[in-house]
Subunit: 434 residues, 2 copies
């Protein structure tokens, strides 16, 4: 059995030959002397046709007894079939049933509620839409890693268990850690990447990140993957250009590699194809004026919510950089804007079509005294940041970076409604199973 | 400044031209009218020579005041220099000091104790040996991901926050999780990959993994990265072949891409180059006989410790598969060996040269009743495994997989003594900082 069966994806290489497919039955239609078996094996989907008299009689009888999701090995001859999705079908000669379920498969063709589907995520993955989304996710991850590898960025996996704190102390998961007290699950690896970029110049990480926020929106998970990049000698402008190139490449790669998946998801690819650099930029101050003119009661200094983001991004058909936020709305490590010290050299990237923020980035404060003052203003535990402050004492350089939320990005790329479907096994405030 | 300076790695393209290097000073030697500056920028290392009269006078004076790890921009002309490691040096015309430290850099040329170095890991990364190890790590990760992507495995990131339990309940980190009680940091994503392989055929993950073991050995971290692969319809034999191909490719890739790093680390690459499939296989029972003949007091049924592993692996110059362990020494999910039901269809892969276990794998129990009986025998919480058991009710198929410990593998590839140096920011029972 260590000789692999033929993959459905490669069946076109075996036209008019006898092959063995190993997979699962996801649908069965019988019409007198013919069974139409819909098979899937993870590489693709295929119709197999068993005709009484042409198929081995015991196999023909066994097919009639099959339940959905039965596992089986099907032998047959590959033949072209124009009407079939892949262009081929299988004329069945013999079937070996590996396991025929006793019960009905919980996920039927009928509509199920999202809670039921999430509770059965381990089985729901077998459906075509979740599969398409996760293939887009796979290709997005590959594209992003290739992008940074090709540009000389060193991958530096930053720790999940941390003593110091990344962004806001209110949303940290706590873990008792031996005799060292409490560890916190990382919200970001940025501080570590800043250390690494002083060693390696250009670095990135890509791993899981945690937020214990009590947010129940369609944009929040408690566990999600984030790609973060950081480069020494890169200023805020260079940071935005790097992000534009990265997003442009990502969309091109996904469009070229995930055509069938995007079609299945009914994604409007014409809209995605517009994602070519450069991207529009809107200053935070101008954004506030626009929002106020539209009747929103937002004040200069407030952070923007999902609704405000949607109002702004809907004015463009490309991703939008929102730049130079007020200092008090952003994290302590962002560099003061020399042109307006009430603001910082930062940008959030909002996806078009109302998908909201997918990237947050900034130039980092490289001045020791200014950084220390900000840590004190925010009443952060200075001891935990001792090592981080040292980076400004030994060869501080201008440097910038950003973090891209993978699931938010996949939500946008696939055009789905809720972020939870962009994760294989999503974790939310109310879900830890399966 | 968004125009990037010239990278040291690319300086060969600019011979006889004027360039600007942005980087850090890692050594300075002055000899009367000449300063020899050793520069690094993350892409490489370069000697820059400033000669009084040829270099701008203010720059020449400033160089004399520089402390180690000063950040600077150095302008000069590139010239060939046979004695230089990269084959070039820079004839300095001008230097702009970005930041000259007030204090001495904590990490000097002298020997430091490991605790001091780990406490200063954020600065130690700038040294050449840690840099070389992390570059090998980077290339190893790239090689492994490419291997699975090229073979049609879908990347399925499995959750870190889990309700159910992977291997041994005694070594789990606990996280209070909203109203849902306690979550556990994943020790493995295998159970989730088993669900995914019934959907996608061939899958893998690659992410951080956690063990709250109170082990203080040179092979243990509390947080480490693991690559896990799982394939439907793959039996134990196919599993071993897949691992052989993967390890063979990995070693080839690292040898071809990391020559300078392995040289710097004084790695015996002739030994590594022997790592060509097939790898020797030793049955657990035979292993026990060998160990007893060598005077070890081990009994059939015991798991093997690091010392026993070293005795066995030192008999070969390739990685060694230790196969068919006793059921009671291994995890509940391993498939019973039909040829000897007291054992399971599994293999650990031991790296040569005493580096110990780098992979654990097995065929999985696909029989519902046998699996449930094992869960009960081990007194595991059956409710948490309800979804996992369902995989055996709906189209169960033979399937196998394995997990490779990244840091152990990098420890072997680089020939270093202790696993902690294979992680950018290692976490041990006594270390959570920086």
């Amino acid at each position: 059995m260590s000789v692999a069966p033929t993959l459905i994806a490669e069946i076109g290489k075996h036209v008019d030959s006898e092959v063995e497919i190993a997979g699962w039955l996801y649908n069965l239609r019988s019409k007198g002397k013919i069974h139409f078996l819909q098979l899937r094996d993870g590489s693709g989907r295929l119709q197999a046709v068993a005709v009484q008299g042409e198929c081995d009689p015991a196999s023909f009888a066994a097919i009639g007894e099959l339940k959905m999701e039965a596992s089986l090995k099907v032998r047959g001859r590959v033949r072209p079939e124009e009407r079939a999705p892949g262009g081929y079908e299988l004329a069945v000669t013999e079937v070996a049933v590996v396991q025929n379920p006793i019960e009905d498969f919980p996920i039927a063709k009928k509509e199920h509620g999202i809670d039921f589907l999430l509770e059965n995520r381990h089985l729901w993955l077998r459906s075509s839409l979740p599969g398409a989304i996760l293939r887009v996710r796979h290709e997005a991850i590959t594209s992003l890693r290739n992008f940074f590898n090709a540009r000389g960025f060193l991958l530096v996996d930053t720790p999940i268990l941390t003593g110091s704190i990344g962004e806001s102390a209110g949303s940290l998961f706590e873990v008792p850690y031996f005799d060292l007290g409490t560890a916190y699950l990382a919200q970001t690896g940025q501080l570590y990447l800043e250390a690494a970029c002083a060693a390696f110049g250009k670095v990135y990480n890509f791993g899981p990140t945690f937020r214990a926020e009590k947010s129940k929106t369609r944009r929040h998970l408690t566990e999600f993957w984030m790609l973060e990049a950081e480069a020494a000698w890169m200023d805020n402008e260079g940071n935005l250009e790097l992000q534009e190139q990265m997003i442009g490449t990502l969309v091109q790669d996904v469009l070229s590699r995930c055509g069938p998946e995007l079609k299945l998801l009914e994604r409007d690819t014409a809209h995605l194809a517009k994602t070519e650099p450069p991207f529009p930029r809107l200053d935070y101050g101008e954004a506030i004026e626009i929002l106020r003119k539209e009747g929103r009661s937002i004040e200069w200094g407030n952070d923007l919510g999902a609704e405000e983001e949607t109002v702004l991004s809907s004015r463009y058909d490309k991703p939008l950089f929102l730049t130079n936020y007020p200092k008090k709305a952003k994290a302590f490590y962002m560099k003061e804007n020399p042109a307006n010290p009430e603001t910082v050299l930062c940008a959030d990237l909002l996806a078009p079509e109302g998908y909201g923020e997918i990237i947050g980035g900034s130039q980092r404060e490289d001045d020791l005294e200014k950084l220390r003052a900000r840590i004190r203003e925010e009443k952060l535990p200075e001891d935990s940041y001792a090592w981080y402050l040292e980076l400004r004492r030994f060869g501080s350089v201008p440097h910038s970076g950003f973090g891209l939320g993978l699931e938010r990005t996949v939500t946008w790329l696939t055009g789905i409604h809720h972020i939870r479907e962009a994760s294989p096994f999503p974790r939310t405030i109310a879900r830890l199973y399966p």
